[in-house]
Each structure stands twice: as structure tokens, then as C-alpha cells.
Amino acid sequence: MMKRWRFVKRLAPLMAMMVLVLAACGRSDLSTLNPQGPVAEEQFGLMKLAIGIMLIVIVAVFAISLFVIIRFRRRPGDKTIPKQVEGNHKLEIIWTVIPIIMLIILGVPTVQSVFNLAKDYSKDPEAVQVIVTSHQYWWEFEYPAYGIKTAQELIIPKGKTISITAKSADVLHSFWIPSLAGKIDTNPGANVNKMYFSAPKEGVYLGKCAELCGPSHGLMDFKVKSVDESSFDRWVAALKEPVALPSDPAIAKAFESKCLSCHAVGDLGGPAYPNLTGIGSRETVGGILVNTDDPQYSNEGSVYDNLHRWIKNPDEVKPGNQMGKIEDLTEQEIEGIAKYLSELKLNYEQ
């Protein structure tokens, strides 16, 4: 028994430390414990309240358990028969009433928050309206007020309320930006969902799909990028600019016939699949190949390398995705297209 005591004694401070350390850390662009906007903060507040109440319960139960286990062990050879207690009404009432009080303390702010977070900003002219459509395995963001559509990267003006209308083009997915707001499912058909959030600080926040949607579900990431208002306006304007085809006519031809049948750049091409306008200035390719000139992990590389890798074999990056391998693209064409796309930038941040 002593062993168990020591075990617990040693473990308790460790756990306490871990809780503290974890609460303080976790990537600020990803962790729910490190909220970066009012919605996530409200949710974090509720989480803290619940954790607090629940810690009290746990400590009480652990304390009684330990006491009982140690105090009432049977000594070897002990043949005495303990008193057969039937119960104790007072005690039983106490442990019925105390939990009820605790639940009221938790329940009231819960209900308040449920209604608070269900506010509908979809008619609010002050809010930025975004229609989020999920696809296997990418995200489409449409801004109806500006007549633009983009993919994988949701650009928002900082501080403004973003009003999300979420739906799915195929199976169920769920739209989740842990450090800014909880998730909302995207349903196919008529069950369209609404939510809102805002990001007071500039920065890039990681978003995830949270509903099993097929083999590449775990790779269905996106980014939310909060920028100042004038940058946002420049971004909107830049996205509507026409875009020139690759200067090399052979590459242009390949790009037009093999890519623009599905994708769009500027005013060219089709809208069925992710819009590629400005892809050179995005944080990632495909949501998960991180663009950086100083790659450390196998999912990182320069914009060009990532684009090349993706176009060469999308299935190797995201198994089961709808783009699939584009047959009969020559290595030269892949390189040309990757180079062209990597230079397709929108210079809106100043």
C-alpha cells in the first residue's frame, strides 16, 4: 500500500505542473487553451469553470478513496465482522444536493453562452459574410458581398465580426479553428449552419476538419489569416484582377487544357475546384504542405517545391482526393506550371 501512496505523492505535483505548463503553452495559433478571439475566450471561460468544479469532485473522491483504502484494509487473520450499515439518509441527501448545486453553477452560464454564441450575424451589414463550403478534402470560402471565392485560406480583416454560413458539397465535415472559435458541422443538403467569430490580432490561425470524411480527413487543414483592414481591401481588389497565362506557350497550353478545366485563376477557368488565384502567396499548398524557405519537416518546402510535389502526385500527399494524378503531364510541363503558379502572388500586405 505504501507503494501506492508514494506513487500518488510523486505524481500529484507532476500532474499539477503539467496542467499549468500545458495551460500556458500549446501553440497560440492552434490551442483551445490559448484563445485568440472573443468566441474562443468565452468557450475557454466555460471550460475553466467546468474544470474547476470537476477538480473539486475529483479531489473529494480521490481523498475519500485513499483514506478508505488505507484506513480500512483487512489485517491478516482478521475475522471480525464490520457493522452492517444500511445507509444514512442525511449523507445520501448531502451527496444528492451538493452535485445539484454544482450543476446549477455550471448550468446557468452554459445556457447563457449557448444563446450568446447562437447570435445570427448573417444579416448584419457590419459583419463580413463568408460562405464556407467543405469538399473532400478542401475548403472553399466565398464572400458574396465582394463576389469573390478562394480556397484553403480564409483572409479576414482583424477585429471585424466574421459571419459564417457553413455547408458541405459532399459528405459531413466540420469547420474548426481551435484558437478562434469552436466547430460547426457542415452538412450536405438543406441543413445550413451559421456561426461567427472574430480575430482581434493579426496573424495566421490553423483550422481543421473535425468530422471523419474519408481517407484524407486528417489532412483537411486550412488557415485563417487575419490582416488589417486596408490589406484586406487590397486583397479583395487583387483577387478580382485578371491573370495572365504562363508566358511559355507550351506551358500555357498545358495549363489551360489540363488545369483550367477545373480550377480558376483570375477571370479564367472553371470554378468547380479550388480557385488558384494568388496561390503563390498562400501559407500552404493543399492546406498541409507548408511553404517555407527553411524546411524542417517532410511536409515543408519552398512554394515551388510544394507545388511541384502536389501536381506530380496529389494522391501521395492527400490519399483519395478528387484531383488524382493528372495523366500525361510531362516533367517539363509540371515544372513550368509549378514555376508559374509559385509566382502567382497577390501583394496585398504592406
Binding site: R27, V61, K83, G107, T110, G182, N187
Partner: protein, 615 residues
């Protein structure tokens, strides 16, 4: 052969245990493979497709083919003994329940060998589970395998209801019933109401898949959210179906090894009923993010939180059963005592999840994975281990080795907390669940590695248990009737293992904890309620085996009807096979109806001989 035809509840209990144990190993192996894939970022140990199959089969197998049958094993082995009955109410149906479960489970697992297991998660949400996005036969196996296995569970549950209502020994009023029997009773009632919902859902999904109906496919006018409602109207009570019997086990074990009667018995009964009832009222807490609106979310939040109250009553009653007792730490009791704080941790995270706005963050993250494993592994599996160690001598007449048992407990227990405690934090830091791999540099690496190490420890724990079982099987069958010496309920009044007819004479129950009462009154055994006489027993039958087999064949046939060629003219050979399967089923039912079988009698001399030899 004896085992294929038996209708004896004790043998069926053992069959359930072997089959459930086997599927537990299969599901455990799948879990280990999942954890190996996740031990480091961007791992490629299994492919994304295989991962989703492993994930789906792990969840489905553990819930339907491991946990439920192991509980049914304990219920079959113990309930009739605890209420002083000679068998369950419908022995034939009991055997049928086992065989349909087994054939359903086998059908589900055949999918591994025919080109792809189901991969839409154990919840099989539409439209991912529909033919548009799941064109191969994986989900067909899920639909038909679970449907067939579900029949077994449903008739098993009905059987226990009738048994407990009708076959209690004289004097055993409802308020004198042991807690495990009570738990089994409420569980069976939940099965009666929940499983038909599953059956309806699966039937609708089957129509969608096999006959191009459109219940759940939005592109054809169906509704995907409908499936979620149907699934969880079944699925949430299912969680309580699993945990209530474990509560029952814990009540028995704790009280026996504390040498004390259960504290607050009547409030325990009341809490059990209340949990069962509330279990049906809260299904939508799995759907806070679906978009049901604030009113529904608020109501289901509060209703869910309420379950904490009766659960709390149970926890404190257990603690106060031990309080002032004389606690002996056998392996069975270690599992029971370990259960209490562990389950409390699962319970409190449940209350956290019930707060809908916070659940917008937790939902479908690793926090949820941690939560439900605390409940189903930390609650249910610890409960099952406790029950197995406790009743093993009664079932087999042999005592399990205590040293190995303790080794099992400590490795499993430590491994469990190592695996799942850390997952709470993974979820809070932003890791979604059901992901095949995660990117490097997100801060998930170390914790996932620790979790994988823990999973291996749990695996070792399970191996120690198996070792124990094997070693014990070679020992002589010499366990006494009351091996723990502090037995309180009726099952400890008869020899271990019990004779085929359980009780030579039906006992007369004179109070709660019947056997304990006789002991404290200075009696050696129960007072009989009838004279010794010939005992009427049901005949064994092979029909249930073939009925299960017929369903299995029918399932396979209909599933492949679209692919297989024609037999004569345009008649599909798959349909032909399906019809053959159904004919086997109905043929057996016909035989069962027309054959006039009166069973047989065990004669007085034989019973007296048994009593002389054993008692």
C-alpha cells in the same frame, strides 16, 4: 458437439466469454495498430484507407462484439444463480441469441478478407456510409453484420427481463435482489428500447445501400442528420447498456471484499433506474455541433448534466460501503477499487462535454477519445476484469492465480492511464480525432508517443490475464462453494461449478443478501423451499446454431447480389444464396415449432448422489 447444442445458461455464458474474449483480442490488436501508426508524426505504417478500416472495426468490434458479449457472459453465468433459478426463462432463445451474435460478428470480420472492411467510423454517418462515397462492400458488412448480431442482443435482453421478473426464488422480492441482477434488469430494459432503433436505422441504411433507397442521401432528397438522430437514439442508451452491468459488478465485489452490505441499497436501485431513464433523454449531446439550434442545445446540455447526480450517488455509496469495512485486496477487488476514481475521471469529463459551448471545442477531438475510453475501458473493462476474477471460481471451479492477477491489474491500470490521460491534452491543444496522421511541429509528438507506450502496457496486461487463464486451466477443479468466504448472495451457496440444475432445491430467501443473512443467523446453508425431487430440464438443440448460420448465408448472398452473375435467366445467384439462407432459417423455425420436445428429467437419485459427493 455438446457445446454447439447446449442450452444451459452456464455453458452459454462460457461461450459468450470465449467469443467476446476473442473479439476483444481482435479489437485490441486493431487498437495497437492504430497507436503504432500514431506514435510519430507523418507516419506511413498503414495507409489512410487501412487506418480508417482499423478505426471503424476497432470501435465496432469493441462495442458490439467484445464489451456486450463479455457482459452477457457474466449475466448468463450469474443471474440465474443469483436469483435462485434453474436456468433462464427461454433456454432455446438464449442459445439462439449467442449464435446470431457470433455469426453476425464473424460476418462483420469476413470483410477483412473480401477486399475492404467498413471504414466510415463505428457511427457510420451518412452520406459517407452511402454508396456514393463508399462504393465497395465494406459498409454492407457493417449493416448486415450488426443487424444479425443485434438480433442476438435483443432476444438476449428480452430473455433476461422475463427471467428476472418470473423466475426469482420464493422470498426474493425486487428489493431483495442483488445489485448485479438489478443492473442487468435495467440494462435489459434499455436493450429492449434501444436496439429496435438500431435495427430500424440499419434496415434503412441497408435499403439505401442494397436497393438504392434515399433515406439518408441528401442528393436524393434524404437527410443525413436523420441518421445521426437514429444512431444516437440507440447509441447513447447503448453506453448505459454497457456501463450499468459494470456498476452491478462493482457493487457486488466491493461489498463482498469489504465484508459489508451495500451502503444505501435502495438509493442505488433508484439511481440505476434514473440513469437508465435519463440515458434515453440525452442523445443529442452527441450532436451539439450539428446545428440543432440554441434551445435544443440548452435542453440537452442540462439533461445531460443531470445524469451526474445519480452517478454521484452511486460513487459515494461505494465509497461508504468500504468505509468502516474490512477490505481485502484480491485481484477482483483491486479492479473494483481502481474502477472508482478512474470512472469518476471519465464522469467529470462527461459533465464538461455536456456544456454545449465548450463542447464546440471538445467535440470530435482527442478530448472525446480520452473521455469515452475513461468510461468504457476505465469503467467497463475494469468492471469486466473484476467480475471475471470474482466469478471465475464459480464458473470453472478453479481459482485464478492471484500473483498473476495483480500483475495483470497493475500493468493494465498504469498502461490505461498512460494511454488515455494524456489524450485529454492532445484534444485541448487542437488534435482532431479519427485522423490517420498528424503534421510535425504542432506539438503533438511526445504525447502521442507516450500514449502508444501505454497502449503496449495494456496489451501486456491482457497477455498476463490470458497466461493466468491457461495456467489455471491445468489446476484441479477444487474451488469451494464460497471461495471468497465472504459471499453474500445465492450463487455462493451451491458448488463451484454448479451442477447442471443449479439448485437441488430452490432456496427460500429470507432477506437482502440472502446467504449472508443465513450465515449471520448461524445457519450452514439456505433453507430449501421445496423437497428434493426430479428436476425438469430443457433438451439441447442444434437448431439455434443453424439459424444463426442461415442468417449469415442470407446476409452474404444479398450483399453480393449486385455483383454476382445470373443463375437461370435473369435471376441473380446472390439472391438465390440469400434465399437458401433464409430457407435454412425458416426451416429451423418450422422444425422447432412442430417437433414436440418435452425436455427430460434429472432423477432424484442422481441429485442425491451429487449432493453426497460435493456438499
Amino acid at each position: 458437439m455438446d457445446w454447439l447444442t447446449t442450452v444451459d445458461h452456464k455453458k452459454i455464458g462460457i461461450l459468450y466469454m470465449i467469443a467476446g474474449g476473442f473479439f476483444f483480442l481482435v479489437g485490441g490488436l486493431e487498437a495497437i495498430l492504430i497507436r503504432v501508426q500514431l506514435w510519430k508524426p507523418l507516419n506511413n505504417f498503414v495507409s489512410a484507407d487501412t487506418y480508417n478500416e482499423l478505426l471503424t472495426m476497432h470501435g465496432t468490434t469493441m462495442i458490439f462484439l467484445a464489451a456486450m458479449p463479455l457482459l452477457f457472459a457474466l449475466m448468463n453465468a450469474v443471474i440465474p444463480l443469483q436469483i435462485g433459478a434453474r436456468d433462464v426463462a427461454f433456454p432455446f432463445v438464449n442459445s439462439l441469441g449467442f449464435w446470431t451474435f457470433l455469426f453476425g460478428g464473424i460476418l462483420l470480420n469476413v470483410s477483412w478478407f473480401t477486399g475492404g472492411a467498413p471504414d466510415a467510423g463505428w457511427t457510420s454517418y451518412a452520406p459517407l456510409a452511402g454508396t456514393t462515397y463508399n462504393g465497395d462492400h465494406g459498409v454492407d458488412y457493417y449493416v448486415l453484420g450488426l443487424q444479425i448480431a443485434g438480433i442476438g442482443t435483443l432476444i438476449g435482453g428480452i430473455n433476461f427481463l422475463v427471467t428476472i421478473i418470473n423466475m426469482r426464488a420464493p422470498g426474493m422480492t425486487f428489493m431483495r435482489m442483488p445489485m448485479f441482477t438489478w443492473a442487468a434488469f435495467i440494462t435489459s430494459a434499455l436493450i429492449l428500447f434501444a436496439f429496435p432503433a438500431l435495427a430500424v436505422g440499419l434496415a434503412a441504411l441497408m435499403f439505401d445501400r442494397l436497393f438504392d433507397a434515399n433515406f439518408f442521401d441528401p442528393s436524393g432528397g434524404g437527410n443525413a442528420v436523420l441518421w445521426e438522430h437514429i444512431f444516437w437514439i440507440f447509441g447513447h442508451p447503448e453506453v448505459y447498456i454497457l456501463i450499468l452491468p459494470a456498476f452491478g459488478v462493482i457493487s457486488e465485489v466491493i461489498s463482498t471484499f469489504s465484508r459489508k452490505r451495500l451502503f444505501g441499497y435502495s438509493s442505488m436501485v433508484f439511481a440505476t433506474i434514473l440513469i437508465g431513464f435519463l440515458g434515453f433523454m440525452v442523445w443529442a449531446h452527441h450532436m451539439f455541433t450539428v446545428g440543432l439550434g440554441p434551445v435544443a442545445n440548452a435542453l440537452f446540455s442540462i439533461a445531460t448534466m443531470l445524469i451526474a447526480v445519480p452517478t454521484g450517488i452511486k460513487i459515494f455509496n461505494w465509497l461508504f460501503t468500504m468505509w468502516g469495512g474490512s477490505i481485502k485486496f484480491t485481484t477482483a477487488n483491486l479492479f473494483a477499487v481502481g474502477f472508482i476514481p478512474t470512472f469518476v475521471m471519465g464522469g467529470v469529463t462527461g459533465v464538461m462535454l455536456a456544456a454545449a459551448p465548450a463542447d464546440f471545442q471538445y467535440h470530435d477531438s482527442y478530448f472525446v477519445v480520452a473521455h469515452f475510453h475513461y468510461v468504457i475501458v476505465g469503467g467497463l473493462v475494469l468492471g469486466i476484469f473484476s467480475g471475471l476474477h470474482y466469478w471465475w471460481p464459480k464458473m470453472f471451479g478453479r481459482m485464478l492465480n492471484e500473483t498473476l492477477g495483480k500483475l495483470t491489474f497493475w500493468t493494465f491500470f498504469i498502461g490505461f492511464h498512460l494511454t488515455f490521460f494524456i489524450q485529454h491534452f492532445l484534444g485541448l491543444l487542437g488534435m482532431p480525432r479519427r485522423i490517420w496522421t498528424y503534421l510535425d511541429g504542432l506539438g503533438f509528438n511526445e504525447m502521442n508517443m507516450i500514449s502508444t507506450v501505454g497502449a503496449f502496457l495494456m496489451g501486456f496486461g491482457t497477455i498476463f490475464f490470458l497466461l493466468n487463464v491457461v495456467i489455471t486451466a491445468f489446476k484441479p477443479q477444487n474451488a469451494p462453494a464460497d471461495p471468497w468466504e465472504d459471499g453474500r448472495t445465492l450463487e455462493w451457496t451451491i458448488p463451484s461449478p454448479p451442477p447442471e440444475y443449479n439448485f437441488a432445491q430452490t432456496p427460500l430467501v429470507r432477506g437482502y443478501d440472502a446467504y449472508w443473512k443465513e450465515k449471520t443467523d448461524g445457519h450452514k446453508g439456505m433453507t430449501p423451499a421445496e423437497p428434493i425431487g426430479p428436476i425438469h430440464m430443457p433438451s439441447p438443440s442444434i437448431l439455434p446454431f443453424f439459424m444463426g448460420f442461415g442468417l449469415f448465408i442470407a446476409g452474404l448472398g444479398f450483399m453480393y447480389a449486385k455483383d454476382w452473375g445470373n443463375l437461370f435467366g435473369s435471376f441473380k445467384s446472390g439472391y438465390a444464396l440469400g434465399i437458401v439462407g433464409l430457407l435454412i432459417l425458416f426451416g429451423c423455425m418450422f422444425l422447432r415449432s412442430v417437433i414436440d420436445d418435452h425436455g427430460f428429467h434429472i432423477e432424484e437419485e442422481e441429485i442425491l448422489r451429487d449432493m453426497g459427493g460435493k456438499a
